[in-house]
């Protein structure tokens, strides 16, 4: 019995005595113990799994046999002999299933992985395999819908699809409804196995794309891509019905390749949307789209597009050979794919042109290049390309030749400024002050007087800050990123100068070099130049202009040794081949008669020498009179 004293004692005890908090036992991911456990269980399972599976298959067949026998007994007891005639087809199916159960096939099915199995004629077996493959009942994405097809006698079937990947409307109206309302009177050839699937495909399903699959790899690929798989009792194949309806981003404006003139469409995540965008721009029956599959686990689709009458067949074959030769589990990004297939994956310089614009892809396809697109990535890559291609922008094709040429020269100059300006400043500042006119030398010396660091530290500090602002600006969401970037740069630069940490000239040089790097149209190329300028800085700080010259020479030699899918990287200058008035200097569009020589295209002529045939004719309204 509790007294006032015991209550007081408990109360005081609760207040004064320390009690450890009731926290849950922390989780530790102990991989070692798990691995051993997994290994031992796997060993145990492997010994029995084959036999168990074999027994399961036989059990399912026995159950099916039992059902048929029960149905026959029921009909006989009730004296419904007419129903027995309907059972002919059921017996035929059973005979087909029995023939499938040869000892060799049974043993193979029992030990092989679900991926390697063939579609079974037994519906229950297919269901069991699908449950195993898609980890049911844990996996909630996969839906297995039971159906009864209204044939005589009715046939069991299942429809399998991934929720979210299919269009429900299509599925209900174009698959389920026709299947469930099919009239048994129209069954042809007595509903034999061969004619059943053919009839369903030809007469029942109004879907635009239907394929048959006999193995589970194809079935999985179809289901994972958004198809619905129809399995029918007694039929050893699945019907894959196109019901794809995954929600995808529409065609938006380009974000990194914006232009004032020209098309305003950009690629999306859907592979078929992207191929359609290209086909919509390049309306030619010679445009070929080949689809390959990459990734053992993901089976990501990759489209290769080229103009059959123009592209070099060796180039197409080589690209396909490289893509088909990739052995990896997962391929989620086109950048990774590029690294898998390019000639120099260790080199910073890009060897494929990455673009988000369908119009740009079409220009290159028309020249004889090949494009590849990966499912789920809003970019296309074009090969082969030369160094100078990365200094072209989509707008160049819209502008007049002189304007385009001027812009390209400006971009090349920007690349040189990005690469060399900080290094040249450092080299001259450290070793060759005599190269500067006296006034400038004095101005620089005056500005640097209060700075407590050597010029190298100054430059590295500013370069680091600039890269930090750039990277930070990218990660900050929305429009805030750009604003914070500008404000950050202004404040940091101003504060650094006021605090005498860096001199104003260094701020100018780094700002110029940074700005110039953004003038390079291709992000990968700009990145390469930005990274290489750091070793150039080190060379300049160590060996002055000698170091800069050595670094520059090595860079040029490296570029000259590179190839993009067999085509020299510095084409058409080194090696010297015929240009097509579209390298750095861009000629008038009506004078660009030939395709790039280095591509060795099937058809080298793009247009006749006199492409403006109207010049040969008399003007419609008569000639101007003086």
């Amino acid at each position: 019995m509790e007294t006032i004293f015991s209550k007081t004692y408990k109360y005081l005890k609760n207040i004064l005595v320390y009690k450890p908090p009731h926290t849950p036992t922390p989780f530790v991911l102990d991989d070692k113990s798990d691995k051993t456990k997994a290994k031992s269980s796997m060993r145990l399972e492997n010994g029995l799994v084959g036999q168990a599976e074999e027994l399961q298959i036989l059990l399912r067949q026995a159950k099916q046999l039992k059902e048929v026998l029960e149905m026959a007994a029921k009909n006989l007891k009730a004296g419904q002999f007419t129903h027995l005639t309907q059972m002919k087809t059921v017996v035929k199916k059973l005979a087909a299933i029995k023939s499938e159960r040869s000892p060799v096939r049974l043993a193979y099915d029992a030990v092989s992985q679900p991926d390697d199995r063939q579609v079974s004629a037994v519906l229950a077996e297919n269901r069991a395999l699908l449950e195993k493959l898609y980890k049911l009942p844990h996996n909630k994405d996969i839906i297995i819908r039971n159906l009864i097809l209204p044939f005589a006698p009715p046939i069991k079937a299942i429809l399998v699809f991934l929720d979210g990947m299919v269009d429900s409307k299509t599925l209900n109206l174009a698959v389920l409804q026709p299947l469930m309302y099919f009239s048994p009177d129209h069954v042809r050839d007595g509903g034999t196995i061969g004619s059943l699937t053919a009839q369903i495909i030809e007469e029942c399903l109004p879907a635009n794309q239907i394929n048959k699959a006999v193995d589970y790899q194809s079935v999985q690929h179809g289901i994972n891509s958004g198809d619905s798989a129809l399995f029918i009792e007694g039929v050893p194949e699945a019907i894959l019905i196109n019901t794809r309806g995954m929600v995808q981003r529409g065609v938006n404006k380009p974000t990194t390749e914006q232009t004032v003139r020209g098309s305003q469409a950009s690629f999306s995540e859907g592979l078929r949307i992207n191929t359609a965008l290209i086909r919509g721009t390049l309306k030619s029956s010679e445009l070929v789209t080949e689809i390959l599959s990459i990734g053992k686990k993901t089976n990501t689709s990759c489209a290769i597009m080229y103009l059959e009458s123009v592209a070099n067949p060796m180039l197409v074959a080589e690209l396909k050979r490289r893509i088909e030769g990739i052995s990896t589990d997962y391929m989620g990004d086109i950048g990774s794919l590029q690294q898998f297939i390019e000639d120099h994956p260790g080199n910073l310089f890009p060897q494929a042109l990455s673009t988000e614009r369908p119009d740009r892809v079409c220009v290159h396809l028309a020249e004889g290049r090949v494009a590849f697109i990966l499912d789920g990535v809003p970019l296309a890559h074009i090969v082969p390309v030369s160094f100078f291609t990365f200094f072209h922008s989509a707008e160049d094709f819209s502008f007049k030749a002189i304007a385009s040429t001027g812009l390209r020269i400006l971009r090349l100059a920007a690349a040189f400024i990005t690469l060399l300006l900080p290094s040249l400043y450092l080299a001259i500042n450290y070793f060759h002050q005599e190269a500067l006119p006296t006034e400038i030398a004095l101005a620089i010396a005056g500005a640097r007087e209060k700075v407590p660091f050597p010029a190298l530290i100054e430059i590295v500090l500013m370069e680091f800050s600039f890269e930090l602002i750039r990277e930070g600006g990218l990660r900050i969401p929305g429009v805030l990123g750009a604003t914070i970037g500008i404000v950050g740069a202004l404040i940091l630069g101003q504060a650094a100068v006021t605090a005498n940490i860096v001199s104003p000239i260094v701020v100018i040089i780094i700002a110029l070099a940074g700005l110039a790097s953004f003038a390079i149209p291709d992000f990968q190329m700009a990145m390469a130049f930005r990274i290489i300028r750091f070793p150039m800085l080190m060379l300049a700080a160590t060996l002055g202009l000698v170091g800069v010259a050595s670094g520059f020479l090595l860079l040029v030699l490296l570029l000259c040794s590179m190839k993009s899918f067999g085509m020299p990287y510095m084409l058409p200058i080194a090696p010297r081949v015929e240009g097509n008035l579209d390298v750095v200097v861009r000629g008038p569009v009506f004078h660009q008669e030939q395709r790039p020589d280095g591509l060795n295209t099937k058809d080298t002529i793009k247009q006749p020498a006199l492409s403006r045939e109207w010049l040969k004719e008399k003007p419609l309204g008569g000639q101007d009179k003086p």
């Binding site: 001259i428 070793f431 060759h432 005599e434 190269a435 006119p437 006296t438 006034e439 060996l543 002055g544 202009l545 000698v546 800069v548 010259a549 050595s550 520059f552 020479l553 090595l554 040029v556 030699l557 490296l558 570029l559 000259c560 040794s561 020299p568 510095m570 200058i573 080194a574 090696p575 010297r576």
Partner: protein, 369 residues
């Protein structure tokens, strides 16, 4: 990894010949020539060039009769021992050329750009860069040279043009120098400077055909000889023979003399980039050719592994002479004696052997040029 040099056209071939002959324009050679033949030095260069072109024409005949590269041609015409002797001569030439250029450019660097730098560090750095360049292959070297050549030639011409206010044409008189015959004799002796023009013979199979070889070699020699002659002519006009003979680095001194306004003066530092690039390319090509010939001679399966070793040997070789004066003396001696003698013995020897073989065969040509 193959030792095959790749495929080259007229442009790449011309660039290779041009760049292997050009580096001495930045060294003391023009001042030495001015000291030896005085005002005749500019046309003496042309005489040497013409003789080299004659040699190339002889090689065109040899290649038409006996297709192949230097080693295989020598093997067919002179036998195995003859081929070994010819190839070893060329290996010695290229390695010696590389070592002499390496030392002189390193000394130039110390004199003009980095006076406080450790000498062996500069030699080591240059050897490292040329080894990397050679590792990238002859195709890359040729293409890189072709890419940089217009910039280099344009820069040299700009310096020569900016010196226009200092031209004194009287300094070119008398045009015979110290006499016509001594000048001609020196021109012939000096032809060894152009021994490197035989580079395309060594990699002849990489050229598309004999015509490509002929025009690439001739255009390369003509272009380089013209530039060298023009440079020495301007050098003589600007400084006069007496002063010119005393200059250690003629091109550097010329660039230093440029003064057009207070904003365009003392541009010599900027031209360091130019001569470093030209010098390194010349050394890298010499190194590559030496290593290539070793590979051919010993029938090695790959070229790349011996390049770092060759670069190390060349760097060590370059550091042997005690001072720059000795190096310049050795350079002059080697050119006048070893290079010129080799050029004028090897080519006629192989030409005669080829002619004899053709006569024996009944004048049948082997080439499909």
């Amino acid at each position: 990894m193959s030792y095959q040099p790749g495929r080259m056209g007229i442009a790449e071939g011309m660039a290779l010949v041009f760049i292997i002959l050009l580096p001495r324009i930045f060294l003391t050679t023009p001042a030495n020539d001015a000291a030896t033949v005085a005002t005749a030095s500019w046309w003496m260069i042309i005489v040497s060039g013409l003789l080299t072109i004659l040699t190339i024409i002889a090689w065109v005949y040899i290649l038409q009769q006996t297709p192949g590269d230097l080693f295989s041609i020598s093997e067919k015409l002179l036998g195995r021992i003859g081929a070994w002797l010819v190839t070893i001569t060329c290996i010695v030439f290229f390695f010696l050329n590389a070592a002499l250029l390496l030392r002189q450019f390193a000394e130039n660097t110390l004199l003009t750009a980095l006076p406080q730098m450790e000498f062996s560090f500069i030699i080591g750095w240059y050897a490292f860069v040329v080894a990397l360049g050679a590792l990238l292959g002859l195709e890359a070297l040729a293409r890189g040279t072709y890419l940089l050549l217009p910039i280099s030639v344009f820069s040299i011409l700009i310096v020569l043009l900016l010196l226009a206010p200092n031209y004194d044409t009287y300094n070119l008189a008398p045009w015979q120098g110290y006499g016509l015959l001594p000048s001609l004799k020196h021109g012939i002796q000096n032809a060894g400077t152009n021994f490197g023009a035989l580079i395309l013979v060594i990699v002849a199979p990489a050229m598309q055909n004999v015509r490509t070889f002929k025009w690439a070699s001739i255009l390369g020699i003509m272009g380089c000889v013209f530039l060298k002659a023009l440079s020495i002519m301007v050098f003589t006009m600007v400084f006069g023979i007496v002063v010119a003979s005393e200059k250690t680095l003629p091109f550097f001194e010329m660039a230093r003399l440029v003064y057009l306004s207070r904003y365009l003066q003392r541009i010599e530092a900027l031209f360091i980039i130019l001569w470093v690039i030209v010098g390194l390319l010349g050394i890298a090509i010499s190194l590559y050719m030496g290593a290539y010939l070793i590979t051919r001679l010993l029938k090695l399966p790959a070229l790349q592994p011996i390049i770092p070793l060759s670069a190390y040997i060349i760097a060590q070789l370059a550091m042997i002479p005690p001072d720059i004066a000795t190096v310049i003396r050795i350079d002059g001696f080697v050119i006048a004696n070893f290079f010129t003698t080799s050029l004028f013995i090897l080519t006629p020897l192989l030409l005669v052997a080829s002619m004899m073989k053709t006569i024996k065969k009944g004048g049948q040509s082997c080439s499909s040029d």
